[in-house]
């Protein structure tokens, strides 16, 4: 047996060598696979992305398509956004630039990665079939969305309508915006646009609060037992703050006003007297409770979208960080460091319109797997955030309904409103905040226009929106 030993050793060597190859294969196929697949220079990433049939986004009527994906002749997915008024509410999806807005927030759902059923897991990770995303139904009302979009044409600003009972966002418009259908081609221009079209003013914006501060001050008056009939002599006198002089929003017919009348005409002086009678710490604590300067987290969104820094307005101020060299009075009267997010203000309006508690904003109401017809409702938290006591909310509701004479009462529609101006350096914003009760539905409305004292325009816009809301509710 002359070669036995050598042949056995040779066999052992070959076996060891193949075992090493097997181990190496296992390493690259399992242990190192994720690292390899996530490398930026891996063209398979793009290949996989381009084959994903991303889910559609549908309006709350269940039929109107706001965004969908189709495959072209080469099997490459193409994203399409057919409703211009919904552009700013939807965000964007691009192979080159990723996702933004709702497209980003619901990315896992739309890509079919969550919820990951056993069938999905098998199809995606074992059979490596192209991913098919889930369709999602949003709370957006197309008719209202179109109306908001039309009314805000020619302006720059934000507008949001929320169902005060459920938190469903029925309308959301941020202008200027962009066309996500042509995003790749327009990207360079859009990123250099001083109007900051990628900045969603509803979900990310922080505007100077201005006269919005009168509403929490009225709440404080109620809570502290302050007599709102207290008369202030020469209440129409301007109030001089650090860098701005505040006057009445609407010229009152007489110089001496009660606090309630001052709230009606937006005159600051009686509020200065009110502030002087309150504990500063109590005011600060109450303002902190309202969290108007913090964009609320929309239900299901992993995190608030990172804010982009705009050039001038809306002004971004770090959440809750006080500015030491601005006076307390400035802050409390809605100037200085007191900024407000439109969605947070909509929450406050919802709390006033109901029992003092605010709902969590909701944009996504149902889901269905691709190709299925039945929508599965999204389970949302029913927890509400208490902002006011129910008595205070009721009192504020009455004051807002009865004391605002600017817009005449509409038939069958009960609405409370406040239109105010806010100054931010050389810039100025006009706010409309309010609520509408019609056909059993309670809706909060917030509209803010940037860089314009458009008191009459804004009231006109608000009037149109409220009328549409009344009609819309009747149809429903």
């Amino acid at each position: 047996m002359q070669f036995t030993r050598e042949l056995r050793r040779l066999w052992a060597g070959l076996l060891i060598a193949f075992a090493v190859m097997m181990i190496a294969s296992t390493y690259w196929a399992i242990v190192g696979a994720d690292t390899l697949l996530q490398r930026e220079d891996n063209p398979r990433q793009v290949e996989v992305e381009r084959r994903i049939l991303r889910g559609a986004m549908i309006a709350n009527d269940g039929t109107t398509t706001l965004a969908d994906t189709t495959l072209d002749d080469n099997g490459i997915a193409q994203r399409r956004y057919p409703v211009p008024s919904a552009y700013s509410a939807l965000g964007y999806f691009s192979f080159r630039y990723g996702e933004g807005g709702a497209e980003q927030a619901y990315n896992a759902l739309l890509r079919g990665e969550a919820p990951l059923s056993i069938e999905n897991y098998w199809a995606q990770n074992v059979l490596h079939l192209p991913k098919e995303g889930n369709d999602i139904q949003l709370t957006l009302d197309v008719m209202l969305q179109n109306a908001l979009y039309e009314q805000l044409q020619g302006h720059r600003g934000a507008s949001v309508v929320m169902d005060a009972q459920t938190g469903a966002i029925l309308g959301l418009v941020s202008l200027p915006t962009y066309d996500p259908n042509t995003l790749d081609a327009d990207w360079e221009t859009l990123t250099k646009d001083t109007g900051q079209p990628f900045f969603n003013r509803v979900t990310q914006g922080q505007y100077q609060a201005g006269g919005i501060a009168y509403t929490p001050l009225m709440a404080l008056a109620n809570l502290s037992g302050y007599n709102v009939q207290t008369l202030t002599i020469n209440a129409n006198t301007p109030v001089v703050l650090s860098d701005v002089i505040l006057t009445c929003v609407v010229a009152p017919p007489k110089p001496d006003l009660t606090l309630l009348e001052a709230y009606q005409y937006g005159c600051p002086k009686p509020f200065v007297n009110l502030i002087a009678s309150l504990q500063p710490n109590a005011i600060s604590a109450f303002y902190s409770t309202l969290r108007l300067n913090t964009a609320p987290l929309i239900e299901g969104w992993a995190q608030t979208l990172p804010p982009l820094t705009p050039t001038a307005t809306p002004e971004l101020i770090t959440d809750g960080t006080p500015i030491p060299n601005v006076s307390f009075l400035d802050d409390v009267l809605g100037q200085g460091a007191f900024t407000a997010n439109p969605l947070a203000v909509a929450q406050l309006m919802s709390a006033i319109a109901l029992d003092g508690s605010a709902p969590t904003p909701i944009l996504h109401q149902a889901t269905r797997p691709k190709g299925k017809t039945d929508w599965q409702p999204v389970l949302v938290s029913s927890a509400r955030t208490a902002l006011l006591t129910s008595e205070t909310a009721q009192q504020l509701r009455d004051w807002m309904v009865r004391t605002q004479p600017i817009v005449p009462e509409d038939e069958g529609i009960l609405s409370g409103r406040q239109t105010v101006v806010a100054y931010s350096g050389e810039d100025v914003q006009t706010w409309f905040v309010g609520f509408v009760v019609t056909n059993g539905r309670v809706l909060s409305v917030v509209i803010v226009l940037e860089n314009e004292v458009a008191y009459d325009d804004l009231n006109s816009i608000a009037q149109q929106v409220i009328e549409i809301l009344g009609r819309d509710s009747s149809d429903n």
Partner: protein, 433 residues
Amino acid sequence: MTTKTLSFAPDDTAQRYGAERVLLALGFAFLLLNFWALGLLRPAVNHWQHLLAWGACAALGHVALNRFLPQRDPYFYPLTMFLSGWGLVLIDRLAPIFADRQTVWLVLSWGAMLFASCTPYLLRWLRLYRYLLLLLGIALLLSTILLGRNPSGLSGSPQLWLGIGGIFFQPSEALKVILVAFLASYLAEQYPNMRLATSAMFGNYAWLSPRLLGPILLMWGLCVVVLVWQRDLGTASLFFIVFMLLIYVASGQTWLLVGGGSLALLAGWVAYHLFSVVRLRVDIWINPWLESDGRAYQIVQSLMAVGAGGIFGQGVGQGSPTYIPVVHSDFVFSALSEEWGLLGVMAFMICLIVYLWRGLRVAMAHQERSFHALLSTGMVLLIGVQSLMILGGVLKILPLTGVTLPFLSYGGSSLLMCFVVTGILLRLSSEAN
């Protein structure tokens, strides 16, 4: 001269035929499924002629071998057909324009295998006319150096082919079989002297005898010629490794392996500093990630393909292996990994291991017939070492050497060589019984 028989006794013939038939049927089912899947993906292209050609060869070969070589090992033929059929699927998927040509080469190779296995005096001729074989090998090498071309026609690319009438053949593939046959014949005669000489080598200097050093230096010279004139690092390395291992089996001296390995490392170090192609391959082996978009693009894409395959693979036609340049040739294993996954990789490697195991069993069975044992070992080493070299290169264990993956890669010469090896192993296994 006595022989040790394989485990199959003569009366097990029916069982052996049955095993071969079952294995061929399993291979056919696998290919049918994969060609069907390819047909679904590319309905405009006709894939069935490849399967039909394969099926006809497999069936006729089985019948012919039953008639002319009834005592053969039942694993070589189905494994060879299965792996080459899998290669057909891969070529059809990766480079469909070459699929017809590869099918023609499959049929030719199959014919060559039948010729090699069924020719009664082949082994005797190989043993007796070894110097003629050596001359033929040197002539082939010289003709390639003088007349070599590259089918792509690109200037600067390796001129490793001989072409006649638009048909190209790579002589180095034939040279592999010829040199192994020569060495087996030479070592079968010299191994008793080598064992005696090496056992007392430090005493009588018999190991310096030209008889022993001659073939070593000759092989060394051939490898240098191949490397220097043809820039063919893969073939040179393969020759040297197979040769050293055969010498080891014949002489039984481990120091030869150590010395040969040291010599290879020294040659590698010199080649690294002399030849840019060697330097490039070593550099991108050590760190491919620095130049993933440049010189290391091929190996990085290859690793990405293995990673993309995961355990179960993307499915035939579903992956993106064509990002790897020349994937159908040197990197066909990466494509297999991406589309059949780790399961496919394991299946492929197990097939190869079984093939090599059966080959070494044939060698063990022939221990009283040293030429047969060494020839069988050499054939096993040709397939085994070449497979390990390319697998190691693709998996970043070794520098890339540019050799093909036996049975799977595109290339007529390579396929022909593999089938001839199988033919010789079939013949050897038959004679062992």
